[in-house]
């Protein structure tokens, strides 16, 4: 039983007092910031990345993973209580969760979200542990052509799940890829698109771009809206769902877990796609006889997507850990964190750093357990936090962002870059161009170019290499099929409907 041995090693690492403490800190701070409306996991992680610099790599990654689940979960709490998604994957939780809260069942909605998330998280952790080794084996068979094709697949995946216009999402990917190329070209040493600014020769910082596009732009948009917030704090109701609730929610949790686990592995997938898909599925299964109807406080509409997004969040670690390729923006940040700690992401991590690899996996389950333990009793605290007026929150958030961005390179220039991308992010918001594909393209840009060049060098300039190598061909075919499916008129209509409901 190699799996058990590996997990034993993982738990031995994750259960050390120090790592337990960092996992706890991560989950706590992650939830704390995730609860604040308008700050999703990406911005939260970007903001808190510097807090992990001083730690040893394993603890740092465990803490970052904890921050991620915490932020994810905090987002759901906000969705249910304030009808404002803390982050994009809890958009669908708003639909029925908030309606449940309005009917005085906020407690049950929160409880179901917690229980569903825990079940899904536990299942997904086992899945990660079971699938990581064989996928790592496969990854060693990957050459540059396969990596390139895999990234094409990932980017197509990202397009499919962007909620707006398909063609604009492709545009955002291309834009991201191009922005990723800014800086010194590793092969020729030429500083590209740097306009003789020395800081730009190192390229645009990922955290600066992500924080600007997601964090700053969001703050500007929130300020511009001057929206009215209604917080359901007076009567949360009992937190534990009744037996009847559980019986009704159980199938949704099971379906959400499975669906989320599968969608999380897909490149470009993750929590967002998982929660949307689960909501659509639950609604379809319940049909017209749903009571109460979906959108009016059906508890399956909370339990399903919440389980799915947590499962998806977890399994999206698989491509990151085995291939070193980030399936979404959060994983891109995790890769950034690994590089800062001098760990080259990729299939070799499992063999060269087994305690880090398995410790991280084991900590996923521990983190999920902590979330449940932490959140049910602390819900009152989160509610208090939600009562803090926005006019106090955003200056504080800005302060943390500025300190975080600066401390990455101890460089003021990164703050200007962040401000620039904040402006750009606000333009994207106004033009309804989704920023998530841009971020993914930004990360993959340099990797794609590098692998394209290597593949072409190996094939002596013959581009058919991508189609003659079976693994590469398979990946490209999957990408083509995905694209065809999405472009099919009937699917496109359905896709429109699915995302429309969430608006």
């Amino acid at each position: 039983m190699e799996l058990l041995n590996n997990l034993a090693l993982g738990f031995a690492t994750a259960l050390s007092l120090q790592n337990l403490m960092y996992a706890f800190f991560g989950v706590l701070i992650g939830t704390l910031i995730g609860v604040l409306p308008g700050i999703g996991p990406v911005a939260t992680l970007a903001m808190l990345l510097p807090t992990t610099y001083a730690l040893e790599p394993t603890s740092a990654l465990i803490m970052l993973a904890g921050i991620y689940y915490g932020a994810q979960y905090g987002g759901s709490t906000t969705a249910i209580l304030v009808n404002l998604p803390g982050e994009s994957s809890s958009v669908v939780t708003c639909l029925d969760g908030y309606q449940m809260a309005r009917r005085g069942r906020a407690g049950a909605a929160l409880g179901l979200a917690a229980i569903g998330s825990f079940i899904a998280g536990s299942f997904a952790t086992v899945l990660v542990a079971a699938f990581a080794p064989p996928l790592t084996e496969l990854a060693f068979k990957f050459g540059p052509a396969e990596y390139f094709s895999l990234m094409v697949l990932g980017l197509i995946g990202a397009v499919v799940l962007a909620s707006g216009s398909l063609i604009k999402a492709i545009g955002m990917i291309l834009l991201g890829l191009l922005l990723g190329l800014v800086g010194t070209d590793v092969n020729s040493g030429v500083a590209r698109f740097s306009f003789d600014i020395p800081e730009l020769a190192d390229g645009l910082g990922f955290v600066a771009v992500a924080m600007g596009v997601f964090g700053f732009a969001e703050i500007i948009a929130n300020l511009a809206q001057r929206g009215h917030r209604e917080v359901f704090t007076s009567k949360v109701g009992p937190l534990l769902p009744t037996g009847k609730d559980m019986k009704q929610a159980a199938p949704a949790i099971a379906r959400g877990t499975l669906l989320g686990s599968i969608l999380g592995i897909l490149p470009g997938g993750g929590a967002l796609l998982a929660s949307f898909a689960s909501y659509t599925l639950e609604k379809k299964i319940a049909g017209a006889k749903a009571d109460p109807p979906f959108g009016q406080g059906n508890l399956r509409g909370v339990a399903g997507p919440e389980s799915a997004n947590n499962a998806g969040a977890q399994t999206s670690f698989i491509p990151m850990l085995t291939l070193g390729i980030p399936p979404n923006a959060v994983m891109a940040l995790m890769i950034g964190a690994m590089t800062i700690h001098n760990i080259q992401p990729g299939p070799q991590v499992m063999t060269s750093n087994p305690s880090l690899f398995w410790g991280l996996i084991a900590s996923m389950w521990i983190g999920n357990l902590m979330l449940v333990i932490l959140n049910l009793p602390l819900i009152g605290l989160w509610i208090q936090l939600l009562k803090v007026p926005y006019r106090w929150l955003y200056p504080a958030i800005l302060t943390f962002c500025c300190i975080g961005v600066y401390s990455i390179n101890n460089n003021v220039f990164d703050i200007y870059i962040t401000a620039g991308f904040g402006m750009l992010g606000y333009v994207f918001y106004k033009l309804k161009c989704e920023p998530a594909p841009l971020i993914l393209g930004f990360i993959l840009g340099p990797m794609m170019e590098e692998n394209l060049r290597r593949a072409m060098l190996l094939s002596r300039g013959d581009p058919t290499t991508f189609f003659t190598r079976p693994l590469s061909l398979t990946l490209l075919l999957i990408a083509a099929v995905l694209l065809l499916i999405v472009l099919a008129p009937s699917i496109q209509r359905k896709r429109g409907e699915a995302f429309q409901e969430a608006d």
């Binding site: 001083a54 302060t399 600066y406 402006m423």
Partner: protein
Amino acid sequence: MIKHQRDFWSGIMFAVVGLGFVVFAREYDMGTAQRMGPAFFPTVLGGLLALLGLVVAFKGWFKRAVDGTDGTVGSFDWRAVGFVLGAVIVYALLLKPMGLVVAMVVLIAIASLGSHEFRWIEIVALSAVMGLIVWAVFIYGLKLTIPVWPAFLVN
């Protein structure tokens, strides 16, 4: 008349940026198919983006929005943009010469002015609380190397 302004302007943005990358990439070497130069990938991607932008703009010109909105971009809230980004830029300018404490207080003050319901007393209180948190977490706890006090006081 532009039927769908958001799409039209998105398309123009893509086209201009794509073209920009193609133009600036001309300074670099294209290389060969076997040994691609630094200009190859940006030129191809920039070209694709420019083309795609034209398509989006073209569609925006002729086709109405399908999502039920009128497709207009809506006015920019320059006040919010100015105060938020202005605060950040002033922070960046002040950080090295004046240190974290001064820069942070100024950041909080300017940013707060962007809200329609700010009160001076709150800005002072917020600055004090944030100062304590930032010092405890980043300076004392994480020992980040950030200049805390104005340079002329320390030296």
